[in-house]
Every structure is written in structure tokens, then in C-alpha cells.
Amino acid sequence: MYRYDEFDAALVRERVAEFRGQVARRLSGDLTEEQFKPLRLMNGLYLQLHAYMLRVAIPYGVLSSRQLRTLARIARDYDKGYGHFTTRQNIQFHWPALVDTPDILAELADVDMHAIQTSGNCIRNTTSDQYAGAAADEIEDPRVWCEVIRQWSTLHPEFSFLPRKFKIAVSASAKDRAAIRVHDIGLQLVRRDDGRTGLRFMSAAALGARRMSPC
């Protein structure tokens, strides 16, 4: 399991503090909904038909016991006792109150979790094979490559407010368990003829804003 370093932890905590201020300004009327919407989306918070929905990243589908217990506590204390695991390695809480979301994000930060880039028109959380690191047929652990992409893309100013969302998935196996062919960019680790690791690159597939011909 990837362990956050002190830079990751500080970034997530600063992000929570920043969002707490943004929520307070929205509730007081200093921010309009038009101004606030892209800010809440960058923190995983949607407004849906019945309530807000908070989407939390579960990097590469791996959870520690401590993290899972925190998710359960959040579901119990701030939501309606359940969460919805998604196909792109997130969990969604469907009934959080806006006023509670800074506290929820702070509890997530305590266990190295966050909702950064789980929504909005940015490069979304990079996903991978759910068996990454343990699959017998993988060339190498794809999560290392995922982490390089995540660290490069997180809050990248050039890619934070794109025209539409942008999704990347990485697989290291011949069998595609990461659905790389339906992502905006799909990366497949392959063994080259010279024995070195190579990358097969696929782009512009169906999860993108507009389906385009593969290239």
C-alpha cells in the first residue's frame, strides 16, 4: 500500500483548511453558487436530486482496516449508514450536509484519505487493476506508475479546470482488469523485446467527454 509522505499529508490538510474557508464563505453568502460549484467539485462534492454526494478516492482499491473503519464511522455519523463503492475505485456518500463536509474531509485526512480530483473537470484519480501488486500475470506493480501520474496531476494548475473531466487508468497485465480501453488515456505495461518495461498507450475512449477514434 502506498504510504503518504509528509508532503502528501500537509497538502491534504491544507486542502481541508482551504475548503473549510470556502464552505464558510458560501454559507455566509460571500461566494455565489456559480463561484462555489467548481470549488466543491474539486473536493468531490456534488449536489444531486435529494442531497449532496461526496466521492472519496480509494487509491487502487486498497483500504487498510483503519481507513475502512473511518469510512464506516463517517457513514454512521454524517450519512445514512452506508456508502456506495464505485467502479473507479471511489466510495460515495449520498447524504452528507454541506456544513459537515469540512469535518468529514478532516477525518479522512487523519487516515491519509481525501476527495481531491474525484469530481470536476480535472484529471481524475488514476485507477488501476484491483489486484495490482498481487496479480500473478502483471509485468510489474502498476501502482508505482499510477503514483507518478497522481503526484504530477494533483492540483496541477494547467489541468485543474479543463473543459471536461479526464480519466487515466494503468494496467500491467495482458488481461485488462482496469478497463484501460474505455479511459481517456489507458496505459498498459508490456515487456519489450529487449526485456525492458514498455508502455502501450491508448487514448480517446468512451469515458471521455467525446468518443473519438482510437489512436
Binding site: 455566509s28 444531486q48 436530486l49 442531497a51 449532496y52 450536509a97
Partner: protein
């Protein structure tokens, strides 16, 4: 006739403009307006800081009608996949 609806900013809950000008949570308690009056109320409510997504809801009695009928029926009741959640779980007389 029309109702005026929105989501409450603080928790996202569906609310309606009530007969006394305040907010109510049940569609059956909402004030009814003719089209022109509803447009005035929508404009007025859109300036409020405690609600978002202000809209008009066309109704016949307590039933949403028109092209948004299904959406508004679901908004008034709760998720169709979880009948134990939302207003339908709290209020027994919501018609589905």
C-alpha cells in the same frame, strides 16, 4: 398550477415555498401559484442565500405533471432504488 422548489444550501434537501412564504419539505404543503406569480417567486427565491437550484414545478393537485413529472416525483419522494430513504421513508402520504 405551479410550485416553487429548490435545494437547501446547508444540507441539499429538497424544499418548497410554503403558503406562509417560508420553506416546507413536503410537496403537499407547498403554495400553489399561477405561471406569472411562480416566475416572480422563482426570481425572488433565486436571490436568497440559503437555497440553490431554484425551479418551478408544474402540478395537478399533489402530482407533478409535464415533462419534468418523473424527476419531480422522485425529488418529492426519494431514491427509487432505496425506498427506505428520503422523504418517502419519513412521510407516508407521498404519492409515487
Amino acid at each position: 398550477m405551479k410550485l416553487v422548489s429548490a435545494n437547501r444550501l446547508s444540507d441539499g434537501a429538497v424544499i418548497y415555498l410554503g403558503r406562509d412564504g417560508g420553506y416546507v419539505e413536503r410537496l403537499c404543503d407547498a403554495a400553489r401559484f399561477d405561471t406569472a406569480a411562480a416566475e416572480d417567486e422563482i426570481r425572488r427565491l433565486s436571490a436568497a442565500i440559503d437555497v440553490v437550484e431554484v425551479c418551478g414545478v408544474e402540478v395537478d393537485g399533489d402530482a407533478p405533471v409535464g415533462r419534468a413529472a418523473l424527476r419531480e416525483t422522485i425529488r418529492s419522494a426519494g431514491p427509487t432504488t432505496r425506498r427506505d430513504l428520503g422523504k418517502q421513508a419519513e412521510v407516508r402520504n407521498v404519492s409515487l
